[in-house]
């Protein structure tokens, strides 16, 4: 697929994303961000437990926090 086709596809997908957002209820739009974050944290915790089966829950939470802080640091200029 050439560059022009990818740009057209990206525009089509973006328009769909905009249409989906317009169709959401006010409650869902307001709370979707925290819900998505919780879901991402649960998946990250599952990954940490898989990597470190001996860690207790406090250890899993500490490693999650460390990884989130690293992501935040990458977002800073």
């Amino acid at each position: 697929m050439g560059v022009p086709s990818i740009a057209i596809l990206a525009d089509v997908l973006y328009r769909e994303e905009v249409a989906r957002a317009r169709a959401m209820s006010p409650d869902d739009k307001l709370l979707e961000g925290p819900r998505l974050f919780d879901r991402a944290c649960r998946l990250m915790c599952d990954g940490i437990r898989h990597e470190h089966p001996d860690l207790d829950e406090a250890g899993v939470r500490a490693l999650l926090q460390e990884r989130l802080d690293r992501i935040s640091a990458l977002e800073r200029p």
Partner: protein
């Protein structure tokens, strides 16, 4: 308590403590644009020392209000943190100061019906202005994306004269133009 429940609990607590407030940050840009994951819920508040004590008293046990204000690094705004037990999710309460746009956006805050309540929220125009300002000051790609998404979702019914006025004040007019040009035509 989950992150979304924490956000709702802080909205309720601000209401019960009679603290004038409005939802800002990614919660508000999600509301006006395209929702994305967020690790914090931000509020702009008008507050004195007595009302901080009142807020601490009405928060549920799972939430803890840090008693001392800290300062946000880019704009120097005072903020109070509300942390959720056993979660990295936080609620940040920014104190409305002397910044002219902060004062203007607080005055223009809108009431919207959501979560079975009437909640107060920054308008889409003010969120776009703020996100462009942050994109320019802190150079964060997600602020630019949030602004673009709000323009794409709400473009037709925005007060463009108001947005352009504040973008001129903040020196973000060319960024606004770039963002508008980047949105695919429908």
């Amino acid at each position: 308590m989950t992150a979304d429940e924490a956000a709702v609990a802080v909205i309720d607590a601000l209401d019960r403590a009679a603290i004038p407030s409005m939802i800002v940050g990614s919660l508000a840009s999600n509301f006006h644009g395209i929702p994305r994951a967020t690790r914090d819920a931000d509020f702009l508040i008008q507050i004195g020392p007595a009302s901080i004590k009142a807020l601490a008293e009405v928060l549920p046990d799972a939430l803890r209000l840090e008693p001392q204000a800290s300062f946000e690094t880019v704009t120097g705004t005072a903020r109070y943190l509300v942390t959720l037990r056993n979660s990295p999710f936080v609620c940040e309460l920014f104190v409305c100061g002397d910044d002219p746009h902060d004062r203007a956006r607080f005055e223009r805050r809108q009431r919207v019906r959501a979560l079975g309540h009437t909640v107060t929220m920054a308008t889409a125009e003010d969120m776009i202005i703020t996100k462009l300002r942050w994109a320019s000051l802190a150079n964060r790609g997600k602020d630019r994306d949030d602004a673009r998404n709000m323009v794409a979702v709400r473009g037709a019914d925005l007060d463009w004269a108001y947005i352009e006025h504040w973008c001129d004040v903040h020196g973000t007019r060319s960024l606004l133009r770039d963002i508008r040009d980047s949105i695919p035509r429908t």
